[in-house]
Amino acid sequence: MSAYFRIAQRGCLGVALCVGMASCGGGDGLGSNSGSGTGPVAAANNVVSVTASGGPSNNALNVLYTTVTVCLPGTSTCQTIDNIQVDTGSYGLRILAPVLTLTFPVLALSNGSALVECTSFVDGYSWGPVTIADVTISGESASSVPIQIIGDSRYPTVPTDCSGSAPLAEDTVAAFGANGIIGIGPLPSDCGEFCTESVPEPAIYYACSTESNCTGTTVPEASQVPNPVTLFATDNNGTIITLPSAPSTGTTTLTGSLIFGIDTESNNASGTETVVPIATSGTYAGFITTIFNGATLAESFIDSGSNGNFFTDSSLTTCPDSGFSGFYCPSSTTSLSGEMQLASGTSTVDFDVASAEQINAAYFVYPGLGGTNPMPNSFDWGLPFFFGRRVATAIDGYTTSAGSGPYIAF
């Protein structure tokens, strides 16, 4: 059992603070300039509050959440759902079935079969139908958006190749660590062109003729679960996350803003930020390059959905407690730096690694969380990278005044 499984017996302190923080977001108007002020920006149609908190089970660490409203298509019958994880490392809106009171219509393929998806994260798989919903986040709306409902009782039988794609079933709020996830990474959809022509093995999309008779299928791009931002009428070329910095010892919660669009409103101008390009072709498509300890790591990424910085540094001590397997536990906080490879030149990013075993049990935010990276050619800049920064994610196929997506800028 991981140390991060903090069972919900911690008392009400965390919950009380979460509520307090959520209600005091917004207001200082920072964020229209790059580099300087970070944290919540003034309320606007294209701004929604985001908070790193304990989440639905009051046990999360460095997980960023927001609130999303979903409506039955073409109606004003809606449900607002909190504790939706904000993830720049995936694509699409996915909601855990148990939190829904509405029943969304399942997307039907041209042959009448239902479209059901197997979403693989590294730690687990999530099975459930692709449904149609109207999505509203703050003042931004999109109609008839394919979203996935995870753990939906209408499709109870997980195909064996889906359950073979990752070790754990993640079809409950407790297992998933959120009421849902909104994937707003730098690509427009969760599979793309390949799935329009071919079926990967194991499949991502399945055509189900009955509740349990499902076979892998190709899917038109318009029916794939999209990065929902791309379906907004405006402010649809990317996102910006602003978060205040966090004390090195950690803190209870941290509240900032998710801003939709880049260079589309007065609150999302690019300014003179550092632009990190994302490769669009070849072996390293989808990745950035980070240089760390003299190694050029071409499978790196910046990802709000990773809860620490994950990299290989053999000089750092890993945690002795098996519950912290894979995390670093230096005897004192260690300051390190990496280089982001830019289109021209590099940019240095400083970061700290602190002992994962020293986290205050009342805290849900810990900027020094770091761990080993099983990918030998990768540096994963997780949510701690976002603390104290204004990080823009520009989507592939869209342009901003800072360049053409996909890129990450800060």
Binding site: M1, S2, Y4, F5, N59, A60, L61, N62, V63, G89, S90, Y91, T119, S120, F121, V122, D123, G124, D161, S163, G164, S165, A166, P167, L168, A174, A175, G177, G185, D190, C191, G192, F194, S198, P200, E201, P202, I204, A285, G286, F287, E299, F301, D303, G305, S306, N307, G308, F310, S325, G326, G371, T372, N373, P374, M375, P376, N377, S378, D380
Partner: protein, 154 residues
């Protein structure tokens, strides 16, 4: 799962014999090359094979772009597999009988979706990545040929 009876000749001798576009489909962690698996996930895949010192590598490129490499020792037993690409492989097939051990040992309840490490005396599995970009390796530490380290498994 079905198995092909076909078996390729062992490339004896030289440290690096070269690259061979092989008749072999693939094998599964812990199994021998004689139990070559005609895995569904390898349909239409291209396969090449290289000899590297005391082991040889089957490299399978799936049509989806995901590359799976399987490392077999002099005894013909697959002691390691690695993969990377836009789609996760079918780990139940790739890890074979070790998949259930991996799943049982995988720590639940973490908020880290993007890395997984299981390390026991007889099995190491390390996986990382995110949607549309996955990478991992699994090996049997007690079966690593002499002089071979995890760092050699790329």
């Amino acid at each position: 799962m079905t198995y092909m009876a076909q078996k390729c000749a062992w490339l004896a001798g030289a440290a690096i014999v070269g690259t061979l576009w092989s008749c072999i489909a693939s094998a599964t962690l812990g199994e021998t090359e004689s139990s070559i698996a005609a895995e569904p996930q390898l349909a239409n895949a291209s396969i090449k094979e290289t000899m590297q010192g005391s082991y040889r590598v089957h490299e399978v490129q799936q049509p989806s772009g995901t590359v799976i490499r399987e490392y077999a020792g002099i005894d013909g037993k697959v002691f390691a597999v690695t993969w990377h690409g836009p789609f996760s492989p079918n780990l139940r097939q790739t890890l074979g009988s070790y998949f259930d051990q991996y799943a049982a040992a995988a720590p639940a309840g973490r908020q880290d979706r993007n890395h997984m490490q299981v390390r026991t005396s007889n099995l190491v599995v390390q996986v990382g990545g995110h949607m549309r970009a996955y990478s991992g390796r699994a090996y049997l530490p007690q079966a690593l040929p002499s002089g071979v380290t995890a760092g050699d498994l790329e």
